[in-house]
């Protein structure tokens, strides 16, 4: 049934409004990064300048060092999550066993219980173990949201994985390693890559966990962002903000074609 033309126009207009709302909060941030003095009531900056970018990209600001440590932490958390989460996801996606509902609940729990409630208690333990203020401590605490996320994405990937090809390969005499390398891996690799990309973003977006366990010594990008924003350097905060959102947009563009609606591999920037 073709929609009446009035309704179609309404859809288009709503769509445009929606698109504008989605980018609206990012616009002032991006404009601030190229502004030098932008006082009320000027709608656009009185003076445009690349100073904020020059400072942000200079060693003095610490942004590049922070970019590196944010990346290192997110890559480590993702690698560990993949190593542990892929087998676990396979078990959840393909096997039926007693107590499965309970296991799923345990793995889901860290995604719904606010991480700060857990990290406040963990802080004293990490302090005693000498893990507070260290990159390793921060990676470990990032595993709390990252590992369950990776596991659930992989469970969805394996739930749609047909093991018949593995059985065929086995009946044709292939060994375990050959089956994994030649049959299983190519089939689930797109799912693994999408899961890893979004797990990276989960770690990349953490603020409160890093602040608590890193004790201010592990300075990731959001910590710098907040410190410049709260000291009134809107221009530098704007530049850091632009740098900070880029990996997410790039990873989304790279993985977009690989996700189908059934694998709910949602990129969750900062969420749980």
């Amino acid at each position: 049934m073709a929609p009446p033309p009035g309704l179609r126009a309404f859809w288009v207009i709503s769509g445009i409004c929606l698109a504008l709302l989605m980018i609206l909060p990012l616009v002032p941030l991006a404009v601030w990064s190229v502004a030098d003095g932008w006082r009320f009531p000027a709608i656009l900056p009185q003076v445009w300048s690349a100073d904020a970018w020059r400072y942000t990209l200079s060693p003095a600001s610490g942004v590049l060092a922070s970019l590196w440590s944010t990346t290192l932490i997110a890559l480590s958390a993702t690698a560990l999550s993949a190593l542990i989460g892929i087998p676990a996801g396979r078990a959840l996606g393909l096997h039926r066993f007693r107590g499965k509902a309970a296991v799923e609940l345990v793995i889901l729990a860290p995604l719904v219980v606010p991480a700060i409630a857990v990290a406040l208690g963990l802080h004293a333990v990490f302090l005693r173990l000498g893990l507070t203020g260290t990159t390793i401590g921060v990676v470990l605490v990032h595993l709390i949201p990252a590992l369950p996320y990776m596991t659930l994405v992989m469970a969805a990937v394996f739930a749609n994985h047909d093991t018949a090809y593995e059985d065929q390969a086995r009946s044709l005499g292939a060994g375990r390693l050959a089956i994994f390398r030649l049959v299983t891996l190519p089939a689930v690799l797109p799912g693994i890559l999408a899961g890893a990309a979004f797990t990276f973003l989960v770690s990349w977006s953490q603020y409160a966990l890093t602040l608590l366990i890193g004790s201010g010594k592990v300075v990731t990008l959001p910590l710098l962002l907040f410190s410049f924003a709260s000291s009134g350097r809107n221009d530098i905060a704007g530049a850091i903000g632009v740098i900070y959102v880029l990996p997410g947009i790039i990873l989304l563009a790279l993985t977009l074609g690989r996700i189908n609606g059934r694998n709910v591999a949602l990129p969750r920037g900062g969420l749980t």
Binding site: L26, V118, P267
Partner: protein, 295 residues
């Protein structure tokens, strides 16, 4: 969420092999997540002071202090309002994105981009947009609606948490929308098409066919959003008023207080945050599962 449908029996359906594959994940989650909760609970009961015994004093203390009920109420208000508004908006957006019209692909992409943006960036963007000297206020000035920044309504640092709620809607409408879209794709168009061919109007079709089918996914997604909005730290830190503080902000503030005697109170607040979020999500998931059983 994990596979909701029962998967077919795998290569070896033995629980032993499954447990072997799951063990590392369960150990890591048990130690870090479970350990964190147990450590928090222990610290809420056992003050660090010498000679102190296990007691519920910290819980009694926070209940007696006006700061805690205020913060709890504030956080519940924020989470409830943001979740309900986001759920309604997301349903409308999901219905919109199911239609075919020019520009739909670009809009879908923007909705997904929004999900990748860290809360910290979004919150600062909202601050620069909505503060009294922010972009909207300047546009209002340009339109001749006001002369001074103070005439612009207080949308951030305000007691009604308008900025916080708008930020959450900005982030969570896309999240719920994508869950709903994935659910709608699973359901397919058949039921709706049948209802329409039997003479149901668009609204009737939505109200009696589509909505009941997506309700379980909507409830589950909303519960996750509620728990997040209730327990998030950086958004109310940046956009909220000093008093009342959101509960996670207050808990963090008390935990870093120089006075070590208040540490158990921070842990007690952390336990309240964890218990309330977990209880709500469990209730919502159970309701969603029951609704799914009926559907």
């Amino acid at each position: 969420m994990a596979a909701k449908t029962d998967p077919p029996a795998g290569p070896s359906s033995g629980g032993g092999r499954a447990l072997f594959l799951l063990a590392p994940a369960l150990i890591v989650i048990g130690v870090l997540f479970g350990g964190g909760l147990v450590a928090g609970a222990w610290q809420s009961l056992a003050p660090l002071l010498p000679g102190a015994r296990l007691s519920l004093d910290a819980y009694r203390a926070i209940l007696g202090d006006p700061g805690f009920p205020g913060a709890l109420g504030f956080s519940l208000y924020i989470a409830l309002t943001a979740t309900m508004l986001s759920a309604v908006m997301a349903t409308a957006v999901a219905l919109l994105l199911r239609q075919t019209f020019p520009g739909r692909r670009l809009i879908s992409f923007l909705v997904q981009v929004n999900l990748t943006i860290p809360h910290a960036v979004g919150a600062i963007g909202i601050l620069y947009l909505l503060s009294q000297s922010g972009t909207l206020s300047r546009l209002a000035h340009g339109a001749g609606l006001l002369d001074r920044p103070a005439q612009f309504p207080e949308l951030v640092y305000d007691r009604h948490a308008i900025g916080i709620i708008l930020h959450y809607m900005w982030k969570e409408v896309p999240f719920i929308t994508l869950i709903l879209l994935s659910q709608m794709q699973t359901i397919g168009q058949d039921y709706a098409a049948a209802a329409r061919s039997l003479g149901a109007g668009r609204w009737q079709c939505f109200r009696h066919v589509t909505l009941p089918l997506i309700a379980p996914a909507l409830a589950a997604a909303s519960a996750i959003v509620f728990a997040f909005c209730f327990g998030a730290y950086e958004v109310p830190l940046l956009l909220g008023p000093n008093s009342p503080a959101a509960l996670p902000v207050l808990a963090y503030r008390v935990s870093v207080d120089a006075d070590l005697a208040t540490r158990p109170q921070a842990m007690a607040m952390a336990m309240v945050i964890a218990a309330l979020s977990a209880a709500l999500v469990l209730i919502a998931l159970r309701a969603a599962r029951r609704a799914m059983g009926r559907a």
